[in-house]
Amino acid sequence: MSDFWDRYGRSVSICHRLPPVLKLALAISVIVAGVAIPVRYWPAYGVLGCLVFAGHSIAGIPLGYLIKRLLIFLPFVGSMAISLPLSQGLDRGWDLMWQIMFRGCLAFLVSLWLVNVMPFEQLLVTLRKLKVPAVVVAILAFMYRYVFVVWDELDKMRTARNARSFSGGSLWFRWKTLSQMIGMLLIRSLNRAERIHGAMCSRGWDGEVRWLDDQN
């Protein structure tokens, strides 16, 4: 499950070999074009759509994966877009709804392409090159490193809860229990952060982020 999001990020293709800055620029320009082009120039959308699918097929991302991801995404974009005609008594707003759905899906597919041709650590290196403040990149790197640890911790707590035959109860009780789990997770994570901070200090950490020369 943990590789579901960027499963094809480490495969090899022309798309993967492009310079990272170019990949980022390509994705951003297609998204901007998709949002900015007025609807009356609709043939341009066809071109963009073809471009996106060409990008996915060159990168070797299977159609089945795209469909699976789109099926997860559609309820989110759909529920928000459907609120437009709903709020207008179902007689107006349909055009806008389809426009939002289409643009949303297009931008989503472009983001998906970027995620699957650019692993997170490459994104971090690219952000460094683009002169994003060092502390921001350091926090992002730290977050990426520890989110899986915290996830594991959450899994352990869930297992422990299930092992004690936690069986529902009222909605209020379940919310209380789940929130307490998050609270305990937070305390444990912060304790862990304090331990890590101690370990970092003992290795000479002074709050200043230093990077080796970027080896891409």
């Binding site: 949002v35 643009r103 909605l171 379940r174 209380k176 929130s179 307490q180 950490w205």
Partner: protein, 325 residues
């Protein structure tokens, strides 16, 4: 809650992006003062925690389920500035890992969840806490009220952005406003309950974490800016309820929208004022908004009281949970 690309026009995305960039830049500048060399591990771990905490699904008795958003929670532990940075970076990572939330819309998402959620939420929380005289009750009640108001204020800002994105002839703004605010009054109740429970657990186990974040800023300038920020969040929340009532006249929000649109000047200005006048406000609209407002407020205050009562201080069950496993 995440806005995807395609909802808002490019100019609105750029404008919200610029506001968010300024706010996050200032937060970066300020957070080093309070956290010092602990900035990276603490903020990074908070980000990971919000990330993981959002994976916990809260059942609501329907096929869909809710989850934590975490702006107020981050601010309660880290203070407003580092909290804002942590939530911002969570949003960046969610886009970069999950393709969740748009890239162009990132500015808007950061504005709603990090800037309003953390900085605004923190201001409300400290103000309420002070009014109730601090302590356990004050802290929990403050976080509950702050979480609810932050969600509501964010929905009001979203409506404004939406209004600026599309031509007024395309839709009836008042109806969308009503729907969005009603929906978010309910979502906000969920966020308020979760935040209140989490904060109450933390206060019982590690009150020092919250007290440290709460007492670090006590200068006169800080309290002035806190009052301003609190006022702003409350005003947005009030605007969320009041705007549909002021339908007959070009009210504040609408005329602000018009002024911005003239400045942006990317679509024709004619016919902006006519829209509100020609469509009569149905009675059910005002009614549903006030019902949502009153019901939501009652629910939030009831939740604050219930959470305070449900978990007495130093309850043995939580202590056992802390030491167990």
């Amino acid at each position: 809650m995440h806005i995807q690309d395609g909802y808002l026009s490019t100019s609105v995305c750029l404008a919200t992006g610029a506001i968010s960039l300024g706010a996050v830049g200032y937060s970066l500048h300020r957070m080093k003062d309070s956290l010092g060399e602990r900035t990276v591990p603490l903020t990074g771990m908070m980000g990971s925690l919000i990330f993981a905490g959002q994976m916990v699904n809260f059942p609501i008795g329907l096929p869909v389920s809710g989850h934590l958003m975490g702006g107020v929670l981050a601010a309660a532990i880290l203070g407003p500035w580092a909290g804002c940075v942590a939530v911002t970076l969570v949003l960046v990572a969610q886009w970069a890992l999950f393709s969740d939330g748009g890239l162009l819309a990132l500015g808007a998402n950061v504005l709603h969840m990090a800037v309003i959620g953390s900085i605004g939420g923190y201001a409300v929380m400290t103000t309420v806490r002070k009014l109730l005289g601090g302590g356990y009750r004050g802290t929990v009640a403050g976080s509950v009220v702050a979480a609810w108001l932050a969600v509501l204020a964010a929905s009001a800002v979203f409506c404004l952005e939406f209004r600026l994105s599309y031509s007024a002839a395309d839709f009836d703004f008042g109806n969308i406003f009503t729907l969005m605010v009603t929906l978010h009054a309910l979502i906000g109740v969920g966020e308020a309950i979760i935040t209140g429970f989490v904060v109450s657990v933390i206060y019982q186990q590690r009150a020092d974490l919250i007290d440290a974040a709460q007492t670090s800023r006590n200068s006169a300038a800080a309290s002035v800016s806190r009052v301003v920020a609190t006022g702003l969040v409350c005003a947005l929340a009030v605007a969320a309820f009041a705007a549909p009532f002021a339908s007959g006249l070009p009210d504040g929000l609408d005329s602000v929208a018009d002024r911005f649109r003239i400045a942006a000047a990317d679509q024709s200005v004619s016919g902006l004022f006519t829209d509100y006048d020609t469509i009569p406000m149905a009675g059910w609209q005002s009614l549903s908004v006030s019902v949502a407002g009153i019901g939501g407020s009652l629910a939030v205050f009831a939740a604050a009281l219930l959470i305070g009562r449900a978990i007495p201080m130093n309850s043995p069950t939580i202590a056992a949970e802390a030491s167990g496993e």
